[in-house]
Amino acid sequence: MDTSPFNIIIAVLLLPLVGSFLQVALGGPVIRSLGVVKGRKAMGWLAVLPILAAFIVGVYVTGQLAQTTSRDFSVTYFDWIKVLAIRIPFELKIDTLSMTMVLVITGVGSLIHLYATGYMAEETDYPRFFSYLNLFIACMLILVLGGNLPMTFIGWEGVGLCSYLLIGFWYKDVANSKAANKAFIVNRVGDWGLTLGMFLLAVSLAINYKSLPVKSDRFLSYDVILPNVLQLFTGPHAWMATVAAILLFVGACGKSAQFPLYLWLPDAMAGPTPVSALIHAATMVTAGVYLLNRVHILFLMSPFASGVVCVIGIFTATFAAIIAFAQTDIKKVLAYSTVSQLGYMFVGCGSGAYWTGMFHVVTHAFFKALLFLGAGAVIYAMSHEQDMRRYGNLRKYIPITFGTMFVAWLAIAGIWPLSGSFSKESIISAALGDQLAAFGGSPVSQICGYVALLVALMTAWYMTRLMAMTFWGPERWRELVPEAHGHDHARHDHDVPHSHAGHGEDIHGFFFTDEEMAVRQASEPHEEHHGLTADHQPKEVPPSMWVPLVILAILSAGAGYYLNQNGLFEHWLYPNGLEIKAAGEPAEIVPGTGLTLLTVSTVAAVLGIFFGFLVTLKGGRYASRIGWLKDLAFNQFYYDKTMMDASVKGGGEFGRALWQGFDVGVIDRIVNGVASIAGGFGSLLRKTQTGFVRGYALLMLAGGLGVLCWLGYALYQQGGGR
């Protein structure tokens, strides 16, 4: 198999890596020598260009791939790990799945980089930000391009690290550091699952090596694992597939913020908004869906695991949607919306229609990135106030942002023919027609499908609430009393990353002209707090920020329609269909259901939008009646608090008990006892130490001679050595 046209794929990996290195190495000198404004501009372009170049290379490789018949290649560069019988090469897998992800990552990634050059223009640590961001892209690309589980795992950990670094980007604020720590630690739980799954697969393949159909020492490469488990985990060993699948799903849950482990994602909003758009909406959190697609054979083999995926997915979708209703921070609403949409994707995957999950990944990447970037633009326009209760009627002031967010809003709500409607509809129809996911023979995905319809309505509703509070209604910030604004409940402090304004960093901004920057720098130290005041005039964002918005808006509008025509996307991803037919009937969609479903789901979306407008703009009188529910939802049903208490406090108590009881009582006594025995001996032996170095040397010589004599004697006994 000639892979030479694909050798260039390494460039996709190296470009962001080199970009990251360039930021680190050149950032300081360039900004120092060119001056702040020009230097940051130059570094900004230096950050965008590698990603753009990677995107272009990605497009080229995809074009090459599309011309081949097998559409599945693997480029091996060198042996990365070679221990005993296991060999893990540095191989990049080039197939439709990975290239789809590459295009999304580099494409959306370059747009968001462009946006960030404007958004972060006033940041003093400009190169650091972009080095992290470029590094993230590189890690994400390793994740999706890796041809074996360890490489995917390296990327997996790498994006976790970058996510941690970027959430805690303004690390001087303790809340941000805590959010970053939380994200990192919660992700560890997921990684634990992924690691165990990986080990399980490796070990089960290694010990059954004799009976493997595909014999290779690359135990962890996908093209070795998947055909092998297909043969290996059958009959009495079917439960192994379930175990492995669920372990891998735990990993996916952690990275993709599914129910038990979703905790970190809302807190991750502490990072800069472009980060939220790139990592916590468009790319990293979809890694779980990617993994499920990559190892989908395991899930196909296990109805139980598929059922778990379905149920977890739909529960997360519903749960997060309810929470999203009560949030007042614009980024938090979007965060919960992301969690909810990820739940959707898992419903699709759990129902055996893996391409629907990826389809939603792609469309969601477009419109959710757009929503986040738009939210960033709104936040910028409102002097980084994130509380939606201070917004209102902004469509008059920031028309471009409004227009693009309008498209995204309709897309996420699922209005035909915008992209969201197609992907959502495909997921729901897959779920309704599916027989795969089942607990002990009773299928679960139909129920999930109906609930998903309800969630579609809820999604439309809360997104309408967001839009209505932001762009319609009275201009609520006008009602502010001077000095009285701010954060009126405690939790909010965690969410707004602005206390760094004190040391000259600012989360918002754009390319000022040199004169403007000079004026700004002349007025240093600038205000302690860019507070929102009653006479604030929101201003439209600069081109470097709205150009990505417009491009994303076009993609959000058209991508779904384009990819869905004649099942283009499905046939692109799974040209040969799925490897095995699940127990029961294949997940065929009943003819005619598609159109009907489209109607139903669009009706649900329109209803949601209608209710949203009605309740948000006119329905103030219901608010007091459901206040308790709102409180519950606002506090995530106290799930977060319970988990934190249990883990932090419980862990602390447990540790303290261990320390005081076991460590001090038992271990210390043993250790001290041994030490005192040794001390006693030592004080006896001390007498022999004269402190006379040459005497020691003489003794050594005598000892050596003794050994030699014994050796010679032994050799003599054996009849002389050679």
Binding site: N7, I8, V18, L22, A25, L26, G28, P29, Y77, F78
Partner: protein, 446 residues
């Protein structure tokens, strides 16, 4: 002429190996010994010219015999041997100083002819250069120790520290070239430099002199600096800094022993210039032009190209010696231009600037070699990614310069002032701490 040379070569090949070696050694040592006075004359004249003076012009034509007259004078001067010296070492030290300067010439390729190839064309040529140049320190150190004189001792100490510091960077810069050439032989270096220039598709008629490649350029600059430091020449002539140490390590030497030190220094300069020319400047080639490629490309002027090729071939020793003399002149130029470094500057230049730079250069070359291997063979890689790699390598070099510049600057200014005191380190200062204002404070019980 051609046939005469051929005859000589034929005779030479058929003589016994020992005699061959002896002839080569004599061919090398005797002219060098004779040339040293010329070098001294050249230095004095060039220096005078640079300083707008006339210089020696009385003895012989253009004062050419001045150096010989000085030699005669030195020879007949009284040889003062101080009392309370380490007699054996005192007498041996100048000879030791002379030895490496001459031994180093063993690897110099004087020309493509067999007679002119290095006497020791072993496959460890670079290591040999490193080994022999590292022996140069003994003459200085012993000369500093033997006369039991504080100034001499300080000169010797400085010299040993200096040579150890700069040897590493020198070794690493040579190692980068060896890695890129894929050989340790100096003759192989020269052959490599006759290839088409690195990274170019079009200008195949330009030779690949190492100084023209990015890594070679960096390595060449590092090597040149280290080479000046290794020969204890200005601006690195701290071991014989006259305003602090009288004459440093040779304070107590007079007459012929002093002259031997002197000769050693000049021979070393010449030979190091030769090493530089062989490793970085295309060896015995006249110009960095591949005449045979020009014959292919522009056949119209074939006769001229062939003439130039022959000139290049038969004049090889002349070009090589010309390059050596050029190097010598740069030495003299440096002496006329640059003031002497301070000791801490010397150390930080060696350890903080040159060493990391040369190691980074070595790693860059290594990375490049690895990349060519990864990309599956030179040919494909060169067609695919050579421009990219070229750019990357250049970029890496620039980056390194910037990073090192940053490192280097960190040591300057206020911090350095206190560091200097720490380095001088006489026992008296040991209990004295500098407080912020720079006021020395002696502890109460100190």
């Amino acid at each position: 002429m051609q046939s005469a040379l051929f005859q000589i070569g034929k005779w030479f090949v058929h003589t016994p190996a020992a005699l061959q070696a002896l002839i080569r050694v004599l061919l090398y040592v005797i002219p060098l010994l004779l040339l040293v006075p010329m070098f001294i004359w050249w230095e004095r004249r060039l220096l005078s010219w640079m300083q707008d003076r006339i210089g020696p012009n009385r003895v012989g034509p253009f004062g050419l015999l001045q150096a010989i007259a000085d030699g005669v004078k030195l020879f007949f001067k009284e040889d003062i041997t101080p009392a309370s010296i380490d007699r054996l070492i005192y007498f041996v030290a100048p000879a030791i100083a002379l030895f490496p300067a001459f031994a180093l010439g063993g690897t110099l390729p004087w020309g493509p002819n067999r007679l002119l190839t290095p006497m020791a064309d072993v496959n460890i040529g670079v290591l040999y250069i490193m080994a022999v140049s590292s022996l140069g320190v003994y003459g200085v150190v012993l000369g500093g120790y033997a006369p039991n004189n504080k100034y001499s001792l300080l000169g010797g100490l400085r010299s040993s520290a200096q040579l150890i510091s700069y040897e590493l960077a020198m070794g690493m810069s040579l190692a980068a070239i060896a890695l890129a050439s894929g050989s340790l032989k100096v003759t192989e270096f020269v052959h490599q430099q006759e290839m088409p220039i690195w990274g170019a598709d079009q200008a195949v008629w330009i030779q690949n002199w190492n100084l023209f490649t990015p890594y070679g350029f960096l390595a060449g600059i590092i090597f040149a600096i280290c080479m000046v430091a290794e020969t204890n020449r200005a601006p690195f002539d701290l071991p014989e800094a006259e305003n602090e140490l009288i004459a440093g390590y040779h304070t107590e030497y007079s007459s012929m022993k002093f002259a031997v030190y002197f000769m050693g220094e000049y021979a070393a300069m010449f030979v190091f210039s030769g090493v530089f020319a062989a490793v970085f400047l295309g060896g015995y080639n006249f110009l960095p032009i591949r005449w045979e490629a020009l014959i292919d490309d522009y056949p119209a002027a074939t006769a001229f190209w062939q003439f130039m090729q022959a000139l290049n071939y038969y004049g090889a020793p002349i070009w090589f010696i010309g390059k050596c003399i050029g190097g010598l002149s740069v030495y003299i130029w440096l002496r006329a231009t640059l003031p002497r470094l301070r000791y801490d500057q010397l150390m930080s230049l060696g350890w903080r600037c040159l060493l990391p730079l040369s190691v980074a250069n070595f790693m860059a070359v290594g990375f490049w070699v690895l990349l060519t291997r990864l990309m599956g063979g030179m040919e494909q890689f060169e067609s695919d990614a050579q421009p990219l790699a070229t750019l990357g390598l250049l970029l890496i070099d620039v980056l390194i310069v910037m990073v090192v510049d940053r490192v280097y600057r960190r040591g300057s200014g206020k911090e350095m002032a206190s560091r200097t005191i720490e380095m001088v380190d006489p026992p008296v200062l040991r209990s004295i701490e500098l407080v912020d204002g720079g006021e020395p404070v002696v502890p109460a019980n100190g």
